[in-house]
Symmetry: C2
Subunit: 316 residues, 2 copies
């Protein structure tokens, strides 16, 4: 049994691919998912159940869930924008369903054309659907508070709104809430503060993960803050896939490779084999030859004599 | 009087310029130093007193010290590799003199062709020289423990060696020691641990600053760790000047712009005007048209409605 101190949720196949124009062939996605799991990644967000005309890059999500479910021990996660997407997600057999709720209502209207009230109604419908299933077949249902650290449209997002919506999501039937720095606005002090506040509002077990972006280079700094407080699930994307085109070197999501290196160096076990993870970049580059790959550790190499925490006890 | 919670020491004119082949004209360096101070940076490492045939990029250090000393309130710092360099530094009137002592003796021999014993002898000579000056004219004298977090030649550097050499530097007459992650090997857990250990060995007031690199993307994460423990002086380089050519996107020093954004967002006052800092990049690009500039915040822009901590109380 692999021991893990931190769960890395690889969101590249969803957040990475939805941010680029190129459509990755389904076979390449399957190979990526298989190799990612083989490298020791225990959770992968394989896609999003959105209409194909909106995100053709993710049109094969059901097929990817079916593929990923065959990998022993892998937690197969998907995103859904609404009840209809959740129906497809449930039908596909995904283990975890995340619905984003933008704390900025302006962003919510722009992104999914729904108010908070309308989104919470979708959440209630999804919860009812999940509860209608036999207990053993129910997916884990997360409500992710996007733009929780600020919004490019509204600017500062009041902490009070984040807490109100965290409570509303739990009351509407989510198993858990998540925090998402959609805009790359978060700073370490705010990360610590907001996690503690959300814990006070909904309970410590109801927030375990955070989705950080690296738009302003603050991704890993914010991870340190999240770890300090006690979060244990971190989203990241291989090679920072889907980086911001306006900011060279600025990946969108935090780079899985740099994150895993940091955690393993800190003595926190991820269960992930860094060399196998680095090797995955080649697979990604072949499938997406025109996309830039981010991440510094794979290029700089591991420190001389480096022993990752996950493999310390396995040394002879 | 500017209130500062953290002192940023801009090392671009020294560490940045020594890492690139292009020689920046002295006039451009002076303009850079002047504009950096005008942006609110209170300490600048303007150069290094090394023989011109070794680092022709820094041959004008004495002239830069003379220039920088005319800027009111600016702490003018220089690096010296040995006693001879320190003589020149003292003659120039620098306010702060830093001598690096590589914890890895292999690295020390490779870098300055001196053993630890020989380097400590240089330190003693420098200390005697400084103590021969009238108190008011004595520069602050720092011994910087380079490769303190690991060495590309020796690999892991025993913490015991770091502590022994920290004590030895203080006994040889330094006013203070510094920690330097020359190789970009440091991780946040190690940063916290080593700072506390050095404090135990030499006293808390004898270590206030850290010099971090971003080779593996861990720079700001390590800053968070250093701040947590209580360090208050951070080295950084504008635009991450002198980035590692083998790792695109990997700056050498941490990027001043991203660091200042993080600190100000966290509520820590640097006294630095972010917009003025961003504007400096153009000056740098004009003087070094072939060098890549790193840093994400200047390209992504500040968050909508962002108010830096340094300017909060100045709002109407």
């Amino acid at each position: 049994m692999t021991q893990r101190d931190v769960l890395i949720s690889e969101v590249g196949p969803r957040d990475g691919l939805q941010s680029i124009q190129t459509i990755m062939p389904t076979a390449a996605k399957k190979a990526w998912i298989t190799a990612t799991a083989a490298a020791g990644v225990a959770e992968i967000e394989v896609g999003s159940f959105v209409p194909a005309h909106i995100l053709p890059q993710l049109a094969d999500t059901a097929e990817l869930v079916a593929h990923a479910r065959l990998i022993p021990g892998l937690n197969v996660a998907v995103l859904v924008p609404n009840f209809k997407g959740a129906q497809a997600a449930v039908a596909s057999g995904a283990h975890k369903i995340t619905i984003p709720l933008s704390v900025s209502e302006t962003h919510s209207l722009r992104n999914v054309r729904r108010t908070h009230v309308q989104m919470l109604d979708e959440v209630r419908q999804i919860s009812a659907l999940i509860r209608s299933l036999p207990v053993a077949e129910r997916p884990h249902f997360e409500g992710s508070l996007s733009t929780a650290f600020g919004c490019t449209l509204e600017g500062e997002v009041p902490e009070r709104r984040v807490l109100e919506l965290a409570v509303a999501l739990m009351e509407a039937g989510c198993d858990e809430v998540g925090l998402s720095d959609t805009t790359g606005y978060a700073n370490p002090a705010q990360v610590r503060r907001l996690i503690r506040s959300v814990w006070s509002a909904v309970g410590r077990d109801q927030l375990t993960g955070i989705h950080l972006h690296n738009t302003r280079g603050q991704g890993l700094a914010n991870v340190v803050a999240a770890l300090d407080v006690g979060l244990t699930t971190l989203d990241a994307s291989l090679a920072g896939l889907g980086g911001c085109p306006f900011a060279p070197g600025a990946s969108g999501n935090i780079v899985t490779e740099d994150l895993v290196f940091m955690l393993e160096a800190m003595g926190l076990r991820t269960g992930i084999d860094l060399d196998a993870l680095f090797a995955l970049r080649e697979l990604l580059q072949q499938a997406l030859p025109d996309e830039p790959l981010y991440g510094m550790t794979p290029l700089a190499g591991l420190p001389k004599g480096f022993v990752p925490a996950s493999f310390m006890n396995r040394q002879p």
